[in-house]
């Protein structure tokens, strides 16, 4: 099985002012996989994701997505590029001025010629997939944290993008919602063939969905491999994630 590499990151370095956040990040992501990025808070997981999304300047030959160096994407190709991505931001990042329904509808309204009733249909269906259809008319400020996350996920998948980025989609969800979310992630992978890159700390969730695991530590990818390999890894800090996360004995340093 030789799956296509959809994302390749080679030697990504990032500093904010004096602070070196990423020293040398190298990994690749294969088509149709759910890849989980693990790492302590502040280790730079969101930073890696934002660089892949072209939200910060990067040097040439560092990040390529769909076989194209993202540096070479010009203004004309940008829209096409972004239409192939769904992004779930860590804090939801819904527009506060619009209702949940309008938020989710926005990409459809702006990028397709679909009639209004077809758009509404799609939006309600996607909201229903995340069990949030009843929030259609609510504003983001009227939602709980968990609801916001689900609304943001509905927006991220509204265009059925082949590539989905999720930054901590499960954080703060109750166990039932989390299980539903994982089930949805698997459906997106299996039925739509989506490639999914997900930052998460929820070990239960990782065990359910991850095909591959990337572990960020000290500015580098300290581990890259399958879930099974990750669970057998000898790297102490990675071991801690699994033992502590599954309620095993706490490891002190």
């Amino acid at each position: 099985m030789n799956k296509e590499k959809i994302i390749e990151v080679k030697g990504l370095k990032v500093s904010f002012g004096e602070k070196e956040v990423l020293k040398n990040v190298t990994f690749s992501i294969e088509e149709g996989d759910v890849t989980v990025i693990l790492g302590g808070s502040g280790s730079g997981k969101s930073t890696i994701m934002k660089h892949m999304l072209g939200l910060y300047p990067v040097t040439p030959n560092t990040i390529s997505i769909f076989g194209q160096d993202i540096v070479t994407i010009d203004e004309e190709q940008e829209l096409k590029f972004y239409l192939k991505l769904g992004v779930f931001y860590q804090n939801g990042a819904l527009l506060n001025s619009l209702t949940v329904g309008d938020n989710v509808a926005l990409p459809l309204e702006q990028h397709t010629n679909l009639p209004a009733d077809a758009i509404e249909d799609l939006v309600r269906t996607k909201l229903n997939l995340v069990n949030l259809e009843d929030a259609y008319y609510l504003y983001p400020s009227q939602l709980s944290g968990g609801m916001l996350k689900r609304a943001a996920l509905a927006r991220a998948i509204i265009m059925d993008p082949p590539l989905l980025f999720c930054d901590e989609p499960g954080a703060g969800l109750d166990p039932v919602s989390l299980a539903n979310l994982d089930e949805l992630i698997l459906k997106l992978r299996d039925q739509l063939g989506m490639t999914i890159l997900m930052v998460t700390h929820e070990v239960t969730s990782i065990l359910r969905v991850a095909d591959k695991v990337l572990f960020v530590d000290n500015g580098v990818i300290a581990f890259e491999g399958t879930l099974t390999e990750a669970r057998q890894s000898e790297i102490e800090s990675l071991k801690d994630f699994f033992t502590v996360g599954t309620g095993g004995k706490k490891v002190t340093h």
Partner: protein, 372 residues
């Protein structure tokens, strides 16, 4: 959109007796076209029974699935009964994953709140500062002209919202301030004019000062305080909460999406606001003239046409347009430059107001010299 007669030609299906055979892919990128084609078929076919055969369909996504789910209902509007058959396993799965919501939640109470939005390219040094300012200015100018003729990327109702929040809502305070300033201006001048026995020139003084100078300036300063700050705060908040990033990765230009409606809203309302402010200021002057110089309102307003020059009115309007640009652009600039964190939002807001008022006064000087 496309109004052509059904000719049995569509990229999406072929008609075979009363069997519609879907083909290839039905995805979000072509579903709109498919819906048009099939609607045309319903309208022109004259059949009362159709069946839709999915066996030739390679792939669908959520948009395609919903379009298929809705076919019987759409056909029903043309009194056609339609059944769907022969979905392959994969298509069947997607149809069940993306099935329409049966019980739609109704809207329960009134809508609330209006807000706004934006993107950036920023740096630390003066050159970069200036460069990014001009970058933003050129972006804004470009899109504000481009989008005049382009309805698609405009957000519904956003222009009106902005016109109300920037212009209409500022009206009471702006007029009140202008009235007071007109009154004080006339009051301060009255003793001098009385000394020279030039009482009646209070009319000229008030009218010219208000129309060409004080009206536009008071309006701009009040609007900078009200809206310059709120534009900066709104955009800065959107940056801090990644809303700006989200817009970009949804393929939307934040400048275009967030700033342009504000530009339109302020460009349309500020000239009116300015004229109304000038009028309020003149009324203030008339009150002072009546109280301190024994110039009755009748004398005052009879003399007014002589003091009112087209040029002064025009100067006032041109100034107000320039000020509108300055206020929105400065607000947006400081909003986009925000550094992470909530206190960054506060700092951006303050800087935006100070910078907007400074730039307004400098622009006032330059325009004053030009139109002198």
């Amino acid at each position: 959109m496309r109004k052509k007669k059904w000719t049995n030609k569509s990229n999406h299906f072929t008609l075979d007796g009363n069997v519609v055979r879907l083909k290839k892919n039905l995805t979000i990128h072509n579903t709109a076209e498919f819906l048009n084609d099939i609607e045309l078929l319903f309208r022109k076919s004259g059949e009362s029974d159709l069946s839709v055969d999915l066996s030739g369909l390679d792939n669908i996504d959520s948009a395609g699935a919903l379009a298929i789910h809705r076919l019987p209902e759409n056909a029903g509007r043309y009194n056609i009964s339609l059944k769907i058959e022969n979905a392959g396993k994969d298509i069947e799965n997607k149809l069940s994953l993306f099935s329409p919501v049966k019980q739609k939640t109704e809207q329960s109470h009134t809508k609330e709140g209006i807000l706004y939005l934006l993107g950036d390219r920023a740096g630390h040094f003066l050159a970069e500062y200036v460069a990014s300012f001009f970058y933003l200015v050129s972006d804004i100018l470009f899109w504000s002209v481009r989008d005049l003729f382009n309805r698609k990327q405009r957000r519904k109702g956003e222009f009106v919202n902005q016109a109300i929040s920037i212009g209409v809502n500022a009206l009471p305070i702006v007029m009140a301030m202008a009235f007071i300033i007109g009154l004080v201006l006339a009051l301060q001048s009255s003793s001098q004019l009385r000394n020279f026995g030039a009482n009646v020139y209070i009319v000229d003084l008030t009218v010219i000062a208000m129309m060409a100078e004080m009206g536009p300036l008071i309006t701009a300063i009040m609007v900078a305080g009200r809206s310059g700050s709120s534009i900066a705060a709104e955009i800065a908040t959107m940056k801090v909460t990644s809303e700006i990033d989200a817009l970009r990765t949804m393929g939307l230009n934040p400048v275009r999406f967030v700033v342009i409606p504000k530009i339109y809203g302020s460009l349309v309302t500020l000239p009116f606001l300015t004229i109304l402010a000038s009028v309020a200021g003149i009324f203030g002057g008339a009150v002072a003239a009546n109280l301190y110089l024994d110039i009755t309102p009748e004398i005052f307003f009879n003399r007014m046409p002589e003091a009112l020059y087209q040029k002064d009115i025009l100067t006032g309007i041109i100034k107000s347009i320039a000020f509108a640009f300055i206020i929105v652009i400065t607000g947006a600039f400081f909003g986009f430059r925000v550094k992470e964190g909530a206190e960054g939002v506060g700092r951006s807001t303050t800087s935006a107001v100070v910078a907007a008022i400074t730039l307004v006064i400098i622009a006032d000087l330059i325009l004053g010299l030009i139109f002198y």
